[in-house]
């Protein structure tokens, strides 16, 4: 029986339609409040400039994943058979990953297609909340004890969220075991 994820329809132009809707939103905003639209547009270009290097990194990772990561390897290390090592890998990669979260979705999508557990994808995304370089700032504002409490909570809830996600997604792997390359 196909998983619900396999029912995901391919809409090749959906992204462009979404971008057009956002552009229309800017147009409407410019009519209502030109200054607001100009400020938002400046912010948009600023964000794009910041994100471009990360997008290049993600494209490189996508290429490497396509070229070297066999589906069987992903299923073994990030699939249901991975066990505690898979969870640890998802948390560690989430904590160490850099750049904005949206840049990582395409890679996770590809890994998911190749057999990554949805639970580990959710755990990776949640673990990204723990930003090691920003911990000193958090400690400065809220104290060391609070920083330790929040950091531990992030890791525990990352795993908990992964487990809940898997239960809600139907407790099945992202893709069917029969899809796995033998």
């Amino acid at each position: 029986m196909p998983g619900k994820n396999s029912k995901r329809k391919s809409r090749p132009f959906a992204g462009w339609v979404f971008l057009a809707v956002v552009a229309i939103g800017y147009g409407v905003t410019a009519i209502v409040d030109n200054d607001l639209a100009a400020a938002a547009l400046a912010g948009w270009f600023g964000l794009l400039a910041k994100v471009l290097p990360v997008l290049a990194l993600i494209f490189g990772l996508l290429f490497l994943a396509e070229a070297f990561l066999e589906r069987a390897w992903i299923v073994r290390h990030l699939g249901r058979a991975a066990g505690p090592k898979g969870w640890a890998l998802a948390v560690l990669c989430g904590v160490l990953s850099v750049g904005p979260i949206y840049a990582w979705y395409p890679l996770l999508g590809e890994l998911s297609k190749k057999g990554m557990r949805s639970a580990l994808a959710a755990t990776f995304l949640y673990s990204r909340a723990l930003k090691l370089p920003l911990l000193p700032l958090m400690a400065h504002y809220f104290g060391v004890a609070y920083t330790i409490f929040v950091s531990i909570s992030f890791i525990l809830f990352a795993v908990l969220n992964g487990l809940i996600m898997e239960a809600l997604m139907g407790d099945r792997p992202s893709h069917r075991p029969e899809d796995v390359d033998q």
Partner: protein, 142 residues
Amino acid sequence: MGSVNRFRRAGRRSVISFIKVLPIVIGVLGLASLLAAALPAGALARFLPMEGTFGPLLGAVVGGVAAGHPLTSYVLAGEFGSAGIGLATITAFIVSWVTVGLVHIPIESATLGMRFALWRNAISFASAVIIGYLAAIVMPLL
């Protein structure tokens, strides 16, 4: 020859995947920027109660709607603390800021599925509220 084909195939697939998500990434950035300009997090914080049972819930709502670098959430949360807003609310705000992304749902659903995106954000929102309450219980004991 086999490896050349493999790299060529990998390159083609990567470019196709990338082109598919690129307009969504650009659109999400535009949406986030428009939202940040129209509803600055500082202005949203006016809706936060100083104390109260529903403080963490509202803190999580504001954190989930706001968009920006996590650094901004720490600075804002520090200001909220100085203004007298409770620790539970502040914690829910910080956690929700970095784990819930309403603006990112279009790209998350395009790559991982709508069901995944909606459930993940809903669970992360609930987690932010729970961690907020836990902070209020645990921190006085430390």
